[in-house]
């Protein structure tokens, strides 16, 4: 089944024409309504009328996460507040989140691309889908929710966590599809084994998993534990949320919904556009989004794009699983974490910068984050309650900034390895590649 055959199976030439037209329209909009973009374009001597086809995309300036932070909260919005019907946000350094906004039409478009995604996983109105992504500022829960309603499936908006309840509803409601992070899916699968649930009562046939990196080994494990077919979904809130691209039944890469999000692969050093098939940084231009249109947004995700037609019949390009980042962002239990955020918390608590290390591991399929902090003179007290208090304060401040629990371990000065030049801040022991 294909949700929107017209757009998903369009010949490449008409698709390019549609993209060109939408791009031109988008550049006009942001030139008129977003001073940030108008200034940038004027500096480069570009007028909206210069955009004649999709080939002109490469002449346009990039947008970065830093631009979003600099214009926090609404500086890059292209519509007045009365036209915004929803906000989402991701965690940011020292309390500054990346805020994204949606108009009514944006929510419709988002629902459309998630409906296409769910259809790729075989979800129809005959399905019961358990949406176990977090609901709230995170885009996962509500993104899947609206798309699933658009498909006509029966949605269980259970949100993340509460494993006992998840298992009970899997059994009692007979959910046929589930959407959550892959690590949580594996965790649920193991809980089913441990609780010795009656497997014949579990009716799951499809899982829509994303928001964090995962491997083919994990896919095999989840499929075996939950008895379903596991599909990879990709997205980021800046572009829309989940539903930027999605794997079809052929499972040979994730189809990018190019009529809304135009992907490019660039050399992260030079910014030069690379041909299909080459590894580089993924960049998106959101040509239809109204509230927060982004021009050539640098995702920092490293991957490849393939344009050869897929056996499923779709003509949309396929992106490979991301192989890494061109910055130091970590994704831990679906939460984006930058070492600089940890540093900002530590700096708030002392005058000098302590040596610290983030240690990420995966235990029982759940990611754990440990922050090691060297106890130097500024932190050291000879009273246990002071040191324990320090540890709890660091942990509490991190939890409120990141929305993620991290355990804090105090270590002796000099025990964290110093490398030549750039300090090593992260040890990722998860085997994801």
């Amino acid at each position: 089944m294909i949700w929107n055959e017209h757009h998903e199976c369009m010949d490449r030439q008409p698709l390019a024409e549609l993209q060109g037209e939408r791009l031109r329209n988008m550049v006009e909009r942001i030139y008129l309504r977003v001073p940030f973009y108008r200034n940038k374009l004027q500096e480069m001597g570009i007028e909206p009328g210069d955009i004649r086809s999709i080939d002109d995309l490469k002449t346009l300036p990039f947008t970065t996460k830093q631009d979003l932070r600099d214009n926090y909260p609404f500086g890059l919005f292209a519509v007045p507040q009365q036209d915004v019907v929803r906000f989402h946000a991701s965690s940011g350094t020292t309390g500054k989140s990346t805020v994204v906004g949606y108009t009514h039409n944006d929510i419709q478009m988002w629902s459309e691309v998630v409906a296409r995604s769910l259809t790729m996983a075989g979800v129809t109105k005959h399905d019961i889908i358990q949406v176990a992504y977090g609901y709230g500022l995170f885009t996962g829960g509500l993104g899947l929710h609206y798309g699933a309603e658009k498909v006509g499936a029966s949605v269980i908006p259970i949100s993340g966590g509460n494993t006992k309840k998840q298992l009970q509803l899997l059994e009692d409601f007979g959910s046929t599809a589930i959407a959550c992070t892959p690590s949580y899916a594996a965790y649920l699968g193991e809980a089913i084994m441990e609780e010795k649930l009656d497997r014949s009562k579990i009716k799951l046939k499809a899982g829509i998993f994303g928001a964090e990196p995962w491997t083919e080994e994990m896919r095999a494990q989840i499929q075996q534990l939950l008895g379903l077919k596991a599909y990879d979904i990709y997205g980021l809130s800046e572009v829309i949320g989940p539903g930027v691209s999605m794997e079809c039944g052929v499972q040979h890469g994730m189809h990018v919904f190019e009529d809304h999000f135009i992907p490019e692969i660039i050399d992260p050093e030079t910014g030069e556009v690379l041909p299909y098939g080459e590894l580089g940084e993924l960049v998106f231009t959101t040509v239809t989004k109204e509230a927060l249109p982004l021009l050539r947004y640098r995702t920092r995700d490293l991957t490849r794009l393939h344009v050869e037609r897929c056996d499923c019949g779709r003509t949309l390009v396929r992106m490979e699983k991301c192989v890494g980042r061109s910055d130091d962002m970590l994704i831990i239990r679906g939460v984006n974490v930058f070492p600089s955020q940890v540093e900002s918390v530590l700096l708030e608590m002392s005058e000098t910068r302590p040596h610290y290390l983030l240690v990420v591991e995966r235990e029982n399929n759940l990611d754990t984050l440990e922050i090691q902090v060297e106890v130097e003179d500024q932190f050291f007290s000879d009273e246990v309650k002071e040191l324990e208090g320090l540890r709890k304060r660091i942990s509490g401040n991190l939890a409120s900034l990141l929305g993620l629990h991290a355990s804090v371990r105090l270590v002796e000065p000099g025990t964290i390895e110093r490398s030549q030049g750039k300090a090593q801040r992260v040890v990722d022991k998860r085997k994801l590649k």
Partner: protein, 142 residues
């Protein structure tokens, strides 16, 4: 009457304490009193040594987090009720103890090292009650 105690942060790691005592031995620094507060991940060693400034310097050079903490030392008869008597004096005067450790020296006397937020006041009230206190010069050579 204030005694300089060294406080050292130690990770719970096999052999770590031995490394520390080795450094003190090499530098000919005698240990007079010694106590460890431990948690699951780390411990805090509290130690009274001869030449405390030298001890601090050599330990810091070897990468330990070291701090000098002011404590007081008290001498009591080694017999039932004498510690209770001393603590009662401190309690009656509103002096709270952060931590303490005590040791009997084999003869008829026992000593206690006491850490409080108000060491000067503790010294005054103990002296007022005729309690014997250790002098810095003595204690570094106990």
């Amino acid at each position: 009457m204030i005694i300089k105690q060294l406080s050292v942060f130690l990770e719970n790691r096999a052999g770590r304490l031995t490394e520390l005592t080795g450094i003190l031995a090499e530098n000919d620094i005698n240990i007079s009193a010694f106590s460890i507060a431990d948690t699951t991940d780390f411990g805090i060693l509290r130690v009274i040594t001869g030449k405390p400034e030298l001890a601090e310097k050599v330990l810091k050079e070897q990468g330990f987090a070291v701090k000098i903490t002011d404590v007081i030392g008290m001498i009591m008869p080694n017999k039932p009720g004498s510690l209770h008597h001393a603590l009662q004096i401190l309690t009656d005067n509103g002096i709270s103890i952060e931590y303490m450790y005590a040791f009997a020296s084999g003869d008829d006397r026992a000593s206690a090292v006491i850490r409080t937020d108000t060491p000067q006041k503790a010294i005054e009230v103990l002296q007022l009650h005729k309690m014997e206190l250790l002098k810095a010069g003595d204690v570094y050579q106990i």
